[in-house]
Subunit: 425 residues, 4 copies
């Protein structure tokens, strides 16, 4: 998945071909707030002014998805004239000639694990076209940003677990995100016409149909730091500080055929020595990913916690743990390990090579609610899709996903058999 | 499941109503042999003479199944004139007036856990109409018999895991069982007309279509003895000796809310003290029943073994065990147990009450192949259904059952979704 | 565990034998507050005035524990003259003649599942002498009280998972609880002599040694309501409303040998139909109890959540779930169940009989932090023992318990062997 | 674990330094038979003539083990004059100068996965000094041989699960193996002096103490073939044909961070598509190795079976399977896999590189009992240690290993606590 460099003339300014422009030309990001709602565990999206800069990421190398990207971009720019489209460098390169308007992009990072700081200072909304892998990649573009823009994800083909919307719903979905803040639903006591942000005024005349405020599930991330035997940070990129993970960080034997011996510290205290293929520290969001395959429980994304799940532990008694998100966890590769190398991966992407004995991975859960101000910030704000006709209930898309996607508690028996009732659920 | 007594006049001999007759009037059982086949792990059924006495058991209290019983009985007696129908007492009572021929039955046992010894000395073939529960009940009628007749089981409604045939196939299925031995398939070198049992001669003229020999899966059972603190047998019935189980024997806390403490001996040697809801000792056949729910592995019925699976053990390190079938296993309720009572059940039927501290359950796997003569005997000979068009292959109905019934390794994802390929398997 | 009635003359007022007195004669309860501490996830206990009424519960029918109860009571009344001892009726009856001071008790409840409302209006501190079972029983005495007094639990014999202190530490332990509020540790800026509650003044002269404030782990409970087919509450006791559980509530097949079919609703939405021995809804505290035996993950008591763990589910794909504590969960015994009865138990005690089809168990996690005021209240405030020499650190007794008691990730190998290093941890 | 070449002069024949000699100079192997015993599931070792050629393998790079090798070799050659010592090339090189007699070795194989055919035609007994890893390496030296000599394994340091004897028992242990066949225990009806092999006559005068016949556990292996997309064998070594595995063969994602998609065929029939880190096909012996870590059941080595255990499957419903040893299993890396490479390992040793889509691993259990002659052959004949004083019973070393080494069902609670009884088992 190496990033193809945009061709050299991309940033050219010749009159007829101003197609790829640098991110820095865009106006700064507009940051929404997330408002708790009565009788609903989801948050309401609230823009102070309409979003303008839309980053679209897509699954690579699938022609039909490239076509969808073009269709979607054209819809956005024609329906919402003030909107600007941001693409990843290779996607920009691939489609800019087919678009009647300029696209914006960042310079590709030198280090594949680096992220462009401009993305987080410019992007208002992220839209993804693909599956869970595309969402993870989009989130990794903000893996050094404390504040991630809302993500609106469209499943292309099979529905993923993180993604929500079907592509054919894109008009309604985007409008819902865009308009969240324009109308009066959450200012019941105020004079709405005056309070609504003036920038939404231009939308007034247009018939946008009945409005629903976009619902946000704020997915906590993990803050991950990797340190070498001498105590210096290892996942050295241009960025400083920790890397955020949406699903999990893993330490794994990788291609070594031998067991790894990993010391686990919880809250600064030695917990245990894991002898295993590896260890997973997962967010609740990641509880349905690798941790699930390794025997972990399924944890609802709103349970503020970290999962510690071993991968093939050589012990009969290493049960997965669920710990408070505030507890720092450290994995250390102790002296007993033979061989040099260990695999460290974040959200399915290797972040390190050649590190072994003495290495440490330090993890802490991200706080998405400020304990003082009570404001919500951080995390990956995911726009949740309402079940048709149940938009007002606190419908739990997550429960639906368990059944439809994970085939949770799939019933035994021959449902299609001769005498069966067909549908047992 | 209390057995209704047949009405008093049942055994009457008045001319017009000779409808229910005692089993003892029937000719003795004809015992088939089970012949190994090249390139096939299943055995071929081989009758020395055509079977005559057919026991039919059915699921209780379902009107449509009673109707099927009548249809099936009439088919048998009209197509195979020498055949006699045996029913359980309550079924005999329920249907005998609707049948134009007499049915045979045994006197209902005084003790619900007893079995009629006449059933095993008279029955040539068992047919079941119902689900796995009906097969288990049929097998329990032979729970004190070393040799069980072949079982032909028809699923009524949903397909079970032990059952094989759809009811609409009953004509073909029974003919296959009946004719196994009549034709020449397995006497290729002999003069078939003379060698074939003369009793099959009468079938000759009839056009029975192409013949297939019935395939038998010999399911090993467990031999179970329950003993009180003083060493005497507890599941005291009229019968002496051990009780055979098809699925499993369990020891369980039952209605006591407290953990049980069970000493486990393997091969006469103390293995461990289980602190748990209970313990299961299962046959491979039972590995897809209760043992599966308790975390046991799935064991193919041809793996000659016993499973030791704890139910909710208070230990992180009690992994299920698979032991050689020849190994005797004992469960003993030690002194540490508070309270009096424990539940002991065989194949889902409680066999004991009021026993507690000091009680022992002793189990041994049944041998179905005589180590000296190499002959196959014992077990529950189950007639396996061939996949149409694959009758000659060693088609593994068991693999099919894993997928179709247990939803083994059911794939994630939205198979019915917008872009899915529909079928992933 | 039927309660023996105190003999008739117990409440007599004759001059020489005023030994058992009614609870109602005691002064009202003093309610402490729980103060968050910097760098520590535990809370500090803070009395407005010294506690006076101490309820002591003990394991039954163990002579040495009865002796310890006498020793402990005598210590309390002689060291802290204003202290009153409350005992359960049968314990009062058993020991009052051996004590030189009166003890208080409540009238035994008519219904064994009822609790005395006076206990919660009078008790300042609960002390338990026994194991986890004794703590659960003590907690069940407050199963209808929104506010439970702090529990100081002494292990008699083997250390339990909920209990903390060794009995030989009882003097230091109780003093720590008693004095939490008397000294100045947490009023660094104030004039301590004036601020300290005057009632502690009497302790001043006495040399009590260095003081440590008692640390509290506030264990969330579950609020459980059981409802019959017609919608009325079933666990009908004198008390109204829900019952609080410390570990879990379970629905189980009990003595029925057949699978139960339980509809599970999460957040009001149908999640799944469980076909199983039963279902557990557990608090994080209960995650190391029955839920662990049934395959659940281990959840730290500070993770604000509920666990949904099936018991022997007849499905390959029913993975335990961890849900937000705020999510209401309902278990309903649907129409498909044969048989009448089901076992419903709270913390190992059956609470219902004779209920079957149509029954519902409704559960919600208890909130221990008021979302508005930010105050801590409710839950079971458990006094946590500090590791000697580490009293100031946020030592995690819980991590210690995993290793020492649950033998978490117990290493393979012959530690005592010829060449082993003895200690691998 | 690359083999160091013996120094060039090793095979020199100069008078004074005839220290390392080629294997080919040794007399041919003497093949023992394995005799079933009444009331014992183990087999008795029976030499037709005393063994002469003893292969000793040792754990590498541990000085104390090298010293033990020297001590052991000297004991053997001085006590049993006709015995010859065979060492692996690097061990021969390391110690030959310290030994007063020549040692034999094979030329190191060109391909690290090849094995020397001379080893299997010359070796009478294998002795290992080390842990399970050393036994696995010794067994891998015979991974192309249908008949493996008996293995006598000494644990150096911690006891392993496959190994049996403590090093300090080496005299008694070796004598037991050596003398199995010399005395009359299993010829009760014969004139022993004449029937005993004449070669044992020389031992007669010597006082060897009471004799016990060595007990053999014949461990079935797996026959593994790896094939490329075009159908040719891949683990191309000098040897032809399949490779035998003692524990297991695995297919694994290795260093690729992505899930593998593996089609599984059982008995030639498609079973399922595994989406997982990898798949394990294990022998019962290997059931306590990697398969255990991946959630497999523990299977007794005498259960004639194969285990199919997934590694981190992305499915809730992939339960481990136990299949008949005679069932061929195939793992195929289908078209859906991205990326090229997959890791295939036998007994912890990678056997392939650079193979991906289209690759197949085909496995069959080894038969150790000839179905026609009833003779025992093949497998890895492991000399089992008797519990002192229980030599005549069918003591199950395996049950002992579960408890002592795997900490099977390790009891909860503080065994060393204040009031505990110390030993609960
Ligand atoms: N044995 C396993 O289960 C393994 C799982 N993974 C997971 O894959 C992720 C990376 O995804 P890709 O790059 O697409 O790799 P991939 O191509 O290996 O696919 C991973 C699968 O996991 C699913 N997935 C990802 N996040 C999920 C979530 N939060 N909940 C439920 N399903 C989820 C995706 O839909 C996809 O089916 C990692 O974060 C890790 O969690 C990675 C390696 C092995
Ligand atoms: N938690 C659990 O899984 C429990 C399982 N059982 C099983 O139920 C059996 C008794 O059956 P019923 O009287 O019908 O009771 P039941 O009405 O409780 O149903 C048991 C279920 O197990 C299935 N079953 C039975 N034998 C099977 C086998 N060998 N492989 C796969 N599925 C099988 C049946 O089709 C039925 O769905 C017992 O032998 C025991 O194995 C009994 C109680 C609890
Ligand atoms: N199969 C199982 O694991 C079963 C467990 N239980 C548990 O027993 C509890 C009732 O306790 P008792 O009346 O003493 O019954 P009991 O005499 O059956 O013992 C239960 C055991 O669980 C332990 N325990 C209780 N709460 C615990 C916790 N929160 N964490 C760790 N260990 C804990 C106790 O120390 C004791 O060893 C129930 O709340 C339930 O959780 C009850 C029945 C079966
Ligand atoms: N996650 C895991 O559990 C892994 C296990 N392995 C196992 O390691 C074996 C190779 O051994 P080494 O080269 O020493 O690798 P290693 O240095 O990684 O150690 C493997 C461990 O497995 C133990 N072991 C080996 N065979 C065993 C058996 N049959 N029963 C019980 N314990 C056994 C050894 O004593 C050692 O503790 C492989 O055959 C595989 O079974 C290899 C990689 C990962």
């Amino acid at each position: 998945t190496r990033v193809r460099l945009p061709v050299a003339h991309s940033f050219s300014t010749t009159a007829c071909r101003q197609l790829i422009k640098p991110l820095t030309e865009l106006p700064d990001r507009i940051k929404p707030s997330f408002v708790p709602q009565p009788c609903n565990t989801l948050l309401a999206l609230q823009w102070p002014a309409p979003p303008r800069n839309i980053l679209i990421t897509k699954k690579k190398a699938v022609a039909s998805i490239t076509a969808s990207l073009i269709e979607f971009s054209q819809h956005l720019t024609s329906t919402y004239p003030s909107i600007n489209i941001i693409l990843e460098p290779d996607a920009a390169d691939e489609v800019h000639e087919k678009l009647p308007f300029p696209v914006y992009t960042c310079t590709p990072p030198v280090n594949p694990n680096s992220t462009s700081p401009h993305l987080s200072s410019k992007t208002d909304v992220i839209c993804t076209l693909g599956g869970d892998g595309t969402i993870l990649r989009a989130s990794s573009l903000f893996s050094h940003a404390a504040s991630v823009p809302p993500i609106l994800s469209f499943a292309m083909g099979t529905i993923g677990f993180l993604g929500e919307w079907k592509f054919k719903e894109y008009k309604r979905a985007f409008r819902e995100v865009y308009m969240s803040g324009a109308h009066d639903a959450y200012f019941p006591l105020s004079d709405s016409s005056s309070k609504t942000s003036p920038s939404y005024a231009s939308m007034r005349g247009k018939s946008m149909g009945h409005q629903r405020t976009a619902r946000i599930l704020l997915r906590n991330r993990l803050k991950v730091g990797v340190f070498g035997p001498t105590g210096d940070r290892i996942n050295a990129t241009d960025q400083e500080g920790d890397t955020y993970a949406l699903n999990e960080v893993i330490v794994h034997r990788g291609s070594s055929p031998h067991l790894k011996i990993i010391d686990v510290f919880v809250g600064g205290r030695f917990l245990t020595e894991a002898v295993a293929d590896g260890m997973i520290i997962s967010s609740p969001t990641g509880s349905t990913a690798y941790s699930l395959s390794s025997g972990g429980s399924i944890v609802h994304p709103l349970v503020n916690s970290l999962l510690l799940t071993p991968i093939c532990p050589r012990s009969l008694s290493f049960r997965p743990l669920v710990l408070p998100a505030e507890t720092p966890i450290t994995l250390r590769l102790g002296e007993k390990n033979r061989g040099r190398e260990v695999e460290v991966s974040i959200d399915g992407k290797r972040i390190s090579e050649g590190i072994g004995v003495g290495m440490e991975v330090r993890v802490l859960g991200e706080q998405v609610k400020d304990p003082i101000s009570g404001e919500w910030d951080g995390g990956v704000p995911s726009v949740v899709r309402g079940t048709t006709g149940m938009e007002d209930r606190d419908e739990d898309h997550w429960v639906g996903g368990l059944n439809a996607l994970l085939k949770f508690n799939y019933p035994f028996g021959d449902q299609d058999g001769q005498g069966g009732s067909g549908e047992r659920r």
